[in-house]
C-alpha cells in the first residue's frame, strides 16, 4: 500500500482519528470518515477513474459534486451493484467496494481506446449515417457491437436486497440548498415560526462554504454553517434533509427528492432502508441551489489531473488532500484566485494563467507574493498519457503560437460559474442570458418562488447571506408568519467577481487535438462545427445532432459552453443561439427508489373476498380480476384445467354448484327520486318495478355504446340496490355521481358504493332450491311464493342474508348477499347443507362456460364499440323515456345495415376448436381487414353440446343464421369451418331457471 501520498499533514474537515478501508478496482486503500470516494482516491494519488463513453479516453475526477461527468464508478456487489455513480457523491465507509467502468481488459490498458485513433472516422452523427444500411445489419451486427464498445456501467443481475420507501412532507417553506443563502433563508423563516424543510444533496451543510477557507461571522465558514445547521436541527418546525437530492419541481410547488438514508453506512444485512423518495408539497420555495463551474475548452482538456478550479480548493479545504503539487490554474474570472491562494497555502507550486488583461482583474490581492500570474495568456493544449504532464501556453492574442510548455500534475480550469437554475425552470420558465456574469439566469420567478445566492447569479458572499435572510422573511410572511428581519452575519471581504468569456480557441487547435465540450458523451468543438455546417447549429438541434448534454450529467458542465461556441460559430448573440430546456431529474435516481415499496407482490393492492380462505383450502387456482383474486377453477386429484371446468359445469347443470360473486360492484340508492334516477341511467325502466323484484338492466354511455350491465333490485319504494360488473365497479359509481351532480342535481337521491360491505355467492342447479330450503330461514322458496326475479330478506343461521332469484348460468339459481364478515360462515353453511346433493364450488371459467352456453354477454362483448341492439338487447330500449345515450344511439351509423351483431358459432366438425379473437371470413384462405366480417369474442368447450361453441360479432349476423363461415387465426395458422347460430345453446326457452 502506497499510503495517502496526497493527504496534507493537517487541515480538512475529516476525522483523522479514524481510518476507513475501501477498495477500487480490487486494490485496497485507506481514507478517513468525512471523505468521499473521490477525495479518498485523490489522497491515494489515484486520478484515473474511468474511460470515456465513445473514444475510451482515460478520464479522472473533474469536480467535487453531483455534476461530475467523468468519475463514474460502479459500487457494491451482487444485488447491491449500482452503476454510474459519481465518485464525488459516494461517502467513504469501511468495506466500500468500487470499480471503474467502460474499460477492457483493464483501466490503464484499454483495447477499445483504439476508437480514439479512429476518431476522424467517428464524428458526430456517425452512428446514424454509417450504420443505417442494410437495415437488418443494424439489428444483428452493428447495434450489438456498438453496445459492447460504448457504454457505461452494467446493472445488477440479481434482485436488490435493500428496502426503499416513499414519504411525504408538507411545509410552508422549502429551501433547497444549505449553502450560505439557503441556511440564512431557512433560519429566518424558521425563526418566524414557519414550517421549514431544508434539503441539500451533500452530507454536510454549508454548500461551497464547506470547501472554503474564509471567515463568516468571525468563524471558519464550515464551522459557522454547521452551527446554523445545529440550531435549525433543534427546532421542531424544521426538517433537515441532508444527503437529499431534490431532483424535480412539478406543477403547483410539488417537489420530488431522494434521500440517501443508508448508502453511507455500508449496511450489508438485507431489509435495511437504503433510500427514501420524498414528495414535498410547499407553499413557498426558496431556490438556493448555488452555481456550477464550467471548464475552459482547450486541446486535450479531458486528461486525468485536469479539474475545475473551485473543486480543487474544495479538496484542499474540506478533505485535506492536495490534488497536485505543480499546479496550473487557467481561468477567465476572479473566483479562481481563491483556488490559487488555497493551493499555494497548502504547499503547491502554482502558476495562474488568466486570459484577461491585468487591469480587468480584481483577484490578485488574494495571492501570496511569490505566485506567478500570466495575464492575457491561455492554455491551448495539454500533454500526458494517463495523467496530465504539461500545459502548453500561448498569448490570447496569438493562440496558434506556443509561448512555453509548463510541466504540471494538475490543471485547475474555470470558464466561469453558471447559476443552478434547474429547479427554477423545470416548470417551463426560460432563462435569459445575463452578460454581467456571462451565464444564463432567471430574469423573474413565479409567485411563491424566491431565488437567492448563486442560483440567482449573486456571487458575492455578503450579498448571498443578505438575500437569504430577505427571502426567508418574505417566504414566512407570505405564509402569515410574522418575522423580524434579522441582520445577516458579516463576512470577510472578497474581491468582486468579474469574468470575460472565453468560449474557444482558433480552429487550428481544435483540429490538431480534441477539445472536449461534453466529457460524458465525448462531444468536441469539431463535432459542434460539423453540426453547424450541416445546418444543425441552433442549440436545440446541435444537442440532438451531437448528443451533447444528453448523458447522465445532463450537460451540467457542457451546455453553456456549447451555446457559447455555437454562438461564435454562427456569429449570432447567445440570446439568439438558444438555451436548452431543463427537465427533471436534476440528478439520476435509482428505479428502486422511485418504485419504493411498490414492487413484487406490493406493486398494487390485492383484494380478497370474505371466502378467500375457503377457496385456498379447497385448492382453487386463482385468476386476477382487476385488483381481485378470484377462483378460476378448483382442480381435484389428477384433473387438469379442462377436466376440472367440465366437471364443475356438469355438476351445476345436473345437481348444484356455488360460485363466489363478491367482486360484483354494489351500489345502494335511497331517496324519493331513486327510481327516476335509475330510469335516466338505464335503457329500461325501474320506477314502475314492484318492491321485492329484481331485473336485468343495461346502461349506455352518452355516445350510445353499451357501458355496463347488471341487476337492479327494489327493496322499498325509495330504496334500490344495484350490481355492476367487477371491472366497471368504480367507473359506474363515478358515472352516477357525474350524472347526479352535473346533469340532475335536482333529483332527490343519495347513493353509496357498498361493494365491500356484502359478500355474495350464487347457488345454481336443479337442486339449488332443495339445498337452500335446508338453511334459509324466513322465506318460502317455492316457485309460487318466490318466482324468478324475486328478492327477500332472510337468515342463514345467525347471519342476515338477502336472497335474489336471478340466473346468469341459466339454471334454477339464487344469489345470496350477506354482510362481508358473515360471508365465510354462510358459504360453509350452504356447502354443508348441499353435501347430500353433491354441491361443489365452481370458478370463473365454469361461470364463463355457462353464460356462453346461454348467450349472455360479458366483458368481451361489452367492448365499448357495441350498441344494445348489436348485442340483441334492442328490445329493452325504452321508447317512453329519456336516458343517457338514448339519442346518440339512434345515429344512422349505429342503426343501419352492416352493424356487427351478436351470433353463436359452432364448428362443422365437432372436434374442431377456435379461439377468442379469431376472424370470420367467407372465403377459405383469406384474411385481412378488408375481408374480415367479424370476430370471435368468447369461445369455450361446452359440456352440454360436447363441442366448442363461440359468441361472435358478425356483420348483419342475426340474418345469417345457418350460413357457413371460416374462423381464421392466421397468427396460429388455424382455419376452421363453422356454422352461424343463434347465441343461445342451452335451454333456449329458459325453462330451467323458471322451474
Amino acid at each position: 500500500m502506497s499510503g495517502q501520498s496526497h493527504r496534507l499533514p493537517s487541515g480538512g474537515r475529516i476525522d483523522r482519528s479514524k481510518t476507513v478501508r475501501f477498495s477500487f478496482d480490487g486494490r485496497s486503500y485507506e481514507g478517513h470518515p468525512g471523505d468521499t470516494l473521490a477525495s479518498g482516491l485523490i489522497a491515494n494519488g489515484v486520478h484515473l477513474t474511468g474511460r470515456s463513453f465513445k473514444y475510451h479516453r482515460p478520464r479522472g475526477i473533474t469536480t467535487s459534486g453531483s455534476e461530475e461527468p467523468n468519475a463514474l464508478v460502479t459500487t457494491g456487489e451482487g444485488g447491491r451493484t449500482e452503476p454510474n455513480v459519481p465518485a464525488t457523491m459516494v461517502e467513504l465507509h469501511d468495506g466500500l467496494v468500487a470499480r471503474s467502468q467502460n474499460r477492457w481488459p483493464s483501466l490503464s490498458f484499454d483495447l477499445m481506446a483504439v476508437n480514439s485513433l479512429l476518431k476522424p472516422f467517428f464524428p458526430a452523427g456517425f452512428y446514424y449515417k454509417t450504420f443505417m444500411w442494410p437495415r437488418s445489419f443494424w439489428y444483428r451486427l452493428y447495434e450489438p457491437a456498438i453496445r459492447r464498445a460504448a457504454g457505461l456501467g452494467t446493472i445488477a443481475d440479481q434482485p436488490d436486497p435493500d428496502v426503499y420507501e416513499h414519504s411525504y412532507a408538507h411545509c410552508d417553506v422549502l429551501v433547497v440548498g444549505a449553502g450560505p443563502a439557503g441556511l440564512m433563508a431557512a433560519q429566518a423563516a424558521a425563526r418566524a415560526g414557519a414550517r421549514v424543510v431544508l434539503a441539500d444533496e451533500r452530507a454536510v451543510p454549508g454548500g461551497h462554504l464547506a470547501g472554503e477557507a474564509i471567515e463568516v461571522d468571525g468563524r471558519d465558514s464550515a464551522a459557522w454553517a454547521q452551527g446554523i445547521c445545529d440550531e435549525l436541527d433543534g427546532l421542531e418546525n424544521v426538517q433537515m434533509l441532508l444527503r437529499t437530492s431534490v431532483f424535480g419541481r412539478y406543477d403547483g410547488l410539488t417537489f420530488g427528492a431522494v434521500e440517501r438514508v443508508g448508502d453511507h453506512l455500508g449496511n450489508d444485512s438485507s431489509g435495511d432502508l437504503r433510500q427514501r423518495r420524498w414528495t414535498i408539497q410547499t407553499r413557498q420555495f426558496v431556490c438556493a441551489t448555488g452555481a456550477i463551474e464550467r471548464p475552459l475548452v482547450f486541446g486535450d482538456n479531458d486528461r486525468p489531473g485536469i479539474m475545475l478550479a473551485g473543486s480543487a480548493r474544495h479538496y484542499v479545504n474540506q478533505y485535506g488532500v492536495l490534488p497536485g503539487r505543480k499546479v496550473v490554474v487557467a481561468t477567465n474570472n476572479d473566483d479562481s484566485y481563491l483556488t490559487a491562494r488555497d493551493l499555494a497555502r497548502a504547499g503547491a507550486d502554482v502558476t495562474l494563467i488568466d486570459s484577461r488583461r491585468e487591469k480587468d482583474v480584481t483577484g490578485h490581492a488574494l495571492l501570496p507574493g511569490e505566485t506567478e500570474v500570466r495575464y492575457g495568456q491561455c492554455v491551448t493544449q495539454t500533454c500526458g498519457k494517463l495523467h496530465v504532464s504539461s500545459a502548453r501556453l500561448a498569448d490570447i492574442s496569438e493562440p496558434d503560437h506556443i509561448r512555453s510548455e509548463l510541466p504540471c500534475d494538475l490543471i485547475c480550469t474555470s470558464g466561469g460559474w453558471n447559476p443552478t437554475i434547474h429547479l427554477l425552470s423545470h416548470c417551463g420558465a426560460r432563462p435569459k442570458w445575463d452578460s454581467a456574469i456571462s451565464a444564463f439566469a432567471m430574469a423573474k420567478v413565479e409567485n411563491g418562488v424566491h431565488m437567492v445566492g448563486g442560483a440567482a447569479g449573486t456571487f458575492e458572499l455578503q450579498k448571498c447571506l443578505q438575500e437569504g435572510v430577505a427571502a426567508g422573511v418574505a417566504a414566512a410572511s407570505a405564509c402569515s408568519r410574522k418575522a423580524r428581519k434579522p441582520a445577516a452575519p458579516k463576512t470577510e471581504k472578497l474581491p468582486e467577481y468579474r469574468i470575460q468569456p472565453l468560449w474557444r480557441l482558433p480552429d487550428t487547435i481544435s483540429k490538431a487535438s480534441a477539445s472536449f465540450v461534453d466529457f460524458q458523451n465525448d462531444v468536441t468543438i469539431a463535432d459542434l462545427e460539423l453540426a453547424d455546417r450541416e445546418g444543425f447549429g441552433h442549440a436545440e438541434h446541435a444537442k440532438r445532432y451531437t448528443t451533447l448534454g444528453m448523458a447522465t450529467d445532463q450537460g451540467k458542465l457542457s451546455n453553456v459552453n456549447a451555446i457559447g461556441v455555437l454562438s461564435e460559430l454562427r456569429g449570432t448573440p447567445i440570446a439568439e443561439t438558444g438555451t436548452t430546456t431543463y427537465r427533471p431529474l436534476y440528478t439520476p435516481a435509482a428505479l428502486g427508489t422511485l418504485a419504493g415499496q411498490r414492487q413484487g407482490a406490493e406493486f398494487r393492492a390485492t383484494r380478497h373476498s370474505a371466502m378467500h380462505q375457503w377457496h385456498e383450502k379447497n385448492g382453487a387456482v386463482f385468476t386476477e380480476a382487476g385488483l381481485w383474486l378470484r377462483p378460476y377453477y378448483y382442480p381435484r386429484e389428477g384433473e387438469d384445467f379442462a377436466a376440472a371446468v367440465k366437471r364443475e359445469v356438469l355438476n351445476a347443470r345436473s345437481a348444484v354448484g356455488m360460485v363466489d360473486v363478491s367482486t360484483l360492484g354494489k351500489i345502494e340508492l335511497k331517496g324519493p327520486d331513486s327510481g327516476q334516477f335509475l330510469d335516466r341511467l338505464y335503457i329500461n325502466s325501474f320506477s314502475k318495478m314492484k318492491t321485492g323484484r329484481a331485473r336485468y338492466g343495461v346502461m349506455l354511455r352518452e355516445d350510445g355504446m353499451v357501458f355496463d350491465d347488471g341487476t337492479v333490485t327494489r327493496l322499498a319504494d325509495d330504496h334500490y340496490f344495484i350490481t355492476v360488473t367487477t371491472a366497471n365497479a368504480s367507473g359506474v359509481m363515478q358515472h352516477m355521481e357525474f350524472c347526479h351532480q352535473v346533469h340532475w342535481p335536482d333529483l332527490d337521491v343519495q347513493f353509496c358504493s357498498v361493494t365491500e360491505v356484502w359478500a355474495a355467492m350464487a347457488v345454481a342447479g336443479p337442486k339449488a332450491r332443495d339445498v337452500l330450503s335446508r338453511v334459509v330461514d324466513g322465506i318460502d322458496l317455492s316457485n309460487e311464493a318466490f318466482p324468478l326475479q324475486s328478492v327477500a330478506d332472510a337468515r342463514i343461521g345467525d347471519a342476515f342474508v338477502r336472497v335474489l332469484r336471478i340466473s346468469f348460468s341459466g339454471e334454477l339459481a339464487y344469489e345470496i348477499y350477506t354482510p362481508a364478515d358473515c360471508g365465510l360462515g354462510v358459504w360453509e353453511a350452504i356447502m354443508e347443507a348441499g353435501a347430500e346433493d353433491g354441491i361443489s364450488a365452481y370458478g370463473t371459467e365454469a361461470m364463463t362456460v355457462m353464460r356462453t352456453e346461454k348467450g349472455h354477454v360479458a366483458g368481451p362483448e361489452l367492448d365499448g364499440r357495441t350498441t344494445a341492439d348489436d348485442l340483441g338487447l334492442g328490445r329493452m330500449m325504452s321508447q317512453r323515456k329519456d336516458y343517457i345515450g338514448r339519442w346518440l344511439s339512434q345515429r344512422s351509423g349505429l342503426t343501419g345495415a352492416g352493424r356487427s351483431q351478436l351470433v353463436g358459432l359452432k364448428p362443422i366438425t365437432n372436434s374442431d376448436t377456435f379461439r377468442m379473437g379469431a376472424h370470420l371470413v367467407t372465403e377459405p384462405g383469406t384474411i385481412g381487414p378488408d375481408v374480415s366480417q367479424g370476430h370471435v369474442t368468447t369461445s369455450v368447450y361446452s359440456p352440454a353440446c360436447d363441442h366448442f361453441i363461440g359468441l361472435a360479432l358478425l356483420q348483419d349476423g342475426r340474418s345469417r343464421t345457418g350460413e357457413r363461415v371460416y374462423v381464421a387465426s392466421p397468427l396460429h395458422n388455424e382455419q376452421v369451418e363453422a356454422e352461424v347460430t343463434g347465441p343461445v345453446f342451452v335451454d333456449p326457452d329458459g325453462e330451467r331457471m323458471r322451474g
Binding site: Y250, D251, G252, L253, T254, T279, Q281, C427, G428, E702, D703, S730, Q734, E737, F738, Q741, V742, H743, P745, D882, W887, L888, Q890, R891
Partner: protein, 92 residues
Amino acid sequence: MQIPCPWCGSRPLDEFEYGGDATKKRPEGKKQENMEAWVDYAFLHDNVAGRHKEYWQHVGGCRCWLIVTRDTRTHEIIKSEFAVPQLRSNQR
C-alpha cells in the same frame, strides 16, 4: 400539482380524476331531431391552449365533481367550484 377542492381544501393531483370539457351543457330534453346539438355536446370539444373549464372529481376525497378553470399551458388553477350549483354558496 395540487387542486383546491372547495370542500376538502388543497389536495394532490392523485386524489382527483379528470372528467373532460366542462364548457358544454347536456342538451336535456332535446330529441333526435336535435342530433346536431347532441353531436356537438358529445364530440366537438375545443383543444384550448390557455384557460379552460374542466370537470374533475375528487375521487380520493369527498367525491364531489368540480368545475376547475385551469390554464392548460402553465397548469395554473384559476378557479375551482362545485359542479352542483346549490353548493356553490357554501364554498370555502
